[in-house]
């Protein structure tokens, strides 16, 4: 039955029907819940003899305690260091010996763990995931925490500190969100808090968040729903349900002023950042804000690219994006000036373009172009079982509906030019935003106006 639905989709495509209007994107799945509260989602795709396993724990850096920033991510690392029946190092060794790849990632809202394995090794992946879900602490030690603490500190150095402009994101969230807001610190955490993380923190965090009733498991690929269910029941049923997790208390993200910051960095060229608060993922005008970002900076004909890079040639690059999160989103613009140009010049042009789009809607073609690109990207994300597994889990995590593909796409298709103008008016205001200038050392004269200096 599931295959037939997919087959119908393909036939429509092959017959040259307009995919855009006529065909629903659907990723069929079966779902069941174990008595311990673990939500399980299975999607069959037999095109390659490969299975993707994807586990979400519904906890991210947004649930960390003050003084322990970076802990959710440090914990993610510790999850690979062995559990009661999986000696240290064997998690990766056994998977590699079976032809599997694995990794994990942490963001503000969730932590995911994923394996891609040949279909004969599905049970191994489930054994490993279940053992660390059920029995991590039996094998935990302060030494393991120390080992991964050093690794994570090097991750911070490699991904942030030793990168040009690498500290921008960390400084931006710190100043964009009110003090104490769960998004006001970066997922990577601070060096001081990473040093402070203790063995006891690991125990508490595991018991609070890493419980089956706070997890969801997706299996996508070359397996039948029945076989997948049998294996999941075998390995996960015995894991006890935990206490209900503390509810997310929506924290107000606001900025009642314009903050203008300056930071010097070891860079050749100055870069300007502008950030605003926008509504949470899948609420309000979230998709409209994505389209607004595309109209502003996706492709040669986008407004900011065209003015700054193509026509005036005063910028090397410009980006715009709406980074969506459960508690709120960030609308982000950055632009790098070319030699001989200042961030004041860039800001003046950006201001003109923002004013323009607040006063007059973009053309239908500008909006349709952005929507069409989103639509194609939805197809591209259906190609691999690991992508599908992660998206099913993400949709489940955020909406309760794993097969939210068509609904998600429909949000973009429903956007019209006046919506885009309205979004710009509502969210991109001059007096509630963060403006950060990063300039080469000793060249504050290249900055936009600033009222506060921050240190790298």
């Amino acid at each position: 039955m599931k295959r037939a639905v997919l087959g119908a989709v393909l036939c429509a495509g092959l017959a040259g029907m307009s995919w855009a209007q006529e065909v629903r994107i659907t990723v069929p799945y079966t779902r069941f819940v174990l008595p311990n509260g673990l939500n399980v989602i299975v999607h069959e795709d037999h095109s390659t003899p490969t299975v993707a396993v994807n586990v979400y724990y519904h906890v991210g850096s947004g649930r960390e305690k003050p003084g322990r920033t970076g802990f959710a991510h440090l914990f993610e690392h510790i999850m690979f260091e062995g559990s009661k029946n999986v000696p240290e190092g064997k998690f990766d060794e056994w998977l590699e010996a079976a032809g599997g790849n694995n990794n994990g990632s942490t963001n503000f809202d969730r932590t995911n763990y994923f394996e891609t394995v040949p279909s004969n090794a599905l049970e191994l992946a489930l054994f490993l995931e279940s053992d660390r879900m059920g029995y991590l602490l039996d094998a935990m030690s302060p030494k393991k925490v120390d080992g991964q603490r050093d690794v994570v500190k090097n991750e911070r150095r490699q991904s942030y500190e030793n990168r040009p402009y690498g500290m921008a994101f960390i400084k931006i969230v710190e100043h964009l969100y009110p003090k104490g807001h769960p998004y006001s610190w970066p997922t990577i955490g601070s060096m001081r808090d990473l040093s402070a993380a203790s063995y006891k923190d690991v125990v508490d965090f595991f018991k609070t968040w890493y419980v089956p009733n706070n997890a969801s498991l997706v299996i996508a690929g070359d397996v039948t729903a029945e076989a997948a269910r049998r294996l999941v029941e075998k390995w996960f049923t015995e894991i006890p349900r935990g206490k209900p997790v503390p509810p997310v208390t929506p924290a107000a993200a606001y900025l009642n002023e314009e903050k203008r910051l300056l930071m010097e960095d070891n860079v050749q060229l100055p870069r300007l950042y502008m950030c605003w608060h926008t509504p949470p993922v899948f609420t309000g005008m979230d998709a409209t804000n994505d389209i607004l970002a595309s109209v502003l900076a996706a492709g040669k004909n986008s407004r900011l690219y065209r003015r700054l890079v193509y026509e005036l040639q005063i910028a090397q690059s410009v980006n715009a994006a709406n980074y969506s999160g459960m508690l709120g989103s960030i609308f982000w613009i950055d632009a790098t000036a070319r030699e001989g140009h200042t961030l004041k010049e860039l800001e003046a042009v950006i201001r003109e373009e923002l004013n323009k789009i607040k006063q007059e809607p973009p053309t239908l073609r500008e909006v349709q172009r952005a929507v069409n690109q989103y639509e194609a990207s939805f197809l591209a994300r259906l190609e691999s079982v690991e992508d599908k597994a992660d998206i099913l889990n993400n949709y489940y995590h955020l909406t309760g509906n794993p097969d939210f593909f068509q609904e998600d796409l429909s949000r973009y298709k429903a956007v019209d030019p006046t919506d885009v103008m309205a979004a710009a008016q509502s969210f991109l205001s001059d007096d509630r935003r963060l403006v950060l200038s990063i300039v080469p050392k000793g060249k504050k004269n290249l900055a936009a106006t600033f009222s506060q200096e921050v240190r790298k």
């Binding site: 190092g89 079976a98 054994f127 490993l128 090097n154 150095r157 490699q158 193509y310 073609r365 591209a380």
Partner: protein, 486 residues
Amino acid sequence: MKRVSLLVVLMIYHALFVLGDARAQKPNRSKPPELGPPPALQLPPIQRFTLANGLEVVMMEKHQVPLVQLNLLVRAGTAHDPEGKRGLASMTAAMMNEGAGDRDALAFADAVDFLGASISVTAGMHTTTVALFTPLSKLDSALSLFGDVVLRPRFPAEELERKRLERLTALQQWHDEPRIIASNLFNKILFGPRHPYGPPVMGDERAIRSFTVDDLRSFYSLSFSPANAVLIVVGDVTRAALAPKLESLLGSWKGGPPFTKPWPPAQQVESRKIYLVDKPDAPQSVIRIGRIGVARRTEDFYAITVMNTILGGSFTSRLNNNLREQHGYSYGAGSRFNFMPLPGAFMAFSDVHAEVTDKALNEFMKELRGIASITDEELERAKNYLALSYPSEFQSVGAIAGALAEVVIYDLPDDYFNTYTSRILAVTKQEVERAARTYIDPDKIAIVVVGDRKKIEKGIASLGLGPIENLSIEDVLGKPPVIEKK
């Protein structure tokens, strides 16, 4: 105590929900589950046909998602840059979709973006690829734009000025990037200024300033020709449906003979030397270690691939396990052989905490010396990892097109994909150890370190690994270009 209460909870749940369900017996966790036999990769056949003008088409149908990938592989790239015009292949490629057919650069970009398609042109070392990725529903329109790029690029002078400025600015920005500094120096040391793998692909400031529209046109007409190209197609199309479209799109394309060029041999690294580039205040040191490896078509390809997987090609590899897991010096460490038509680089790499740069180098040396002896367990794990994960690389049209490009460029047999697994599994311990002895000589390597000299030089010197040459970033990259104000 905690364990007892857990058990109680478990028993209650069993009693409430799963009692009597035979499938939910308590599993045996004392050892990992036995795996059944691994599944075989069964790919659709590689289809080959030729257009009227002689253009070869290599195709694989892939019908899961209505997408199409079309890559024209032209057998000319950076290695074909004329004397004194390093970077011309790369600039020509970058300019090919800056206006084509009857559209200028903006109109062309708008047309492609509006389809939700993408068309990119990239110069590799020996090939230039025009890549189209499109939803099937937009295939006809996308093909027409693809044809414009391949057959009718406009090379407008004002777009060349834009690209020139963009690239000169990129050269400035390289001075910020320790990894780019390291790889530029590493290639320069291994291959020198005259070998195609030595200098940066984009060329230096002088070359970038020298390119003219005529240079681009001339490189284009020498390299773009049906006799010098292969078209790779993967996606939700059939040969029967596609062949007539390709014939009408490209069938009338004419051009010159294959573009051949001789290359000077590179001088192998014959001693151990350290090149230390000062990046003041860098919190990490970027380490790149290696020598010249071997060409892709070597008989030793499979043995080297297995050997490198053990050394630094997987998460559990010796380098990553040592530098990351055992010592916490780094977020990751690894190694790779750059398999190319001519012998490419072997390189071991990591970014390490500045304070432990010397200790990390010491561990690198241990692993490079030790790889000539491996265990049976490592061998089996590496072979299985490579062989059994292979099918998962054939999921997207783009990835399959990339795999087909390898078959085309190195003239591999059409059963290459289907025999890869068995060839890897047949590699013996003796072959791996011989490959290590042949291709990894820890006494004859270049060691590049980009980091904070005042913090790391003394420690590195005390290792006694060899002479240290101190360099500045400008010694490696030259002065940043001075850009005239717009």
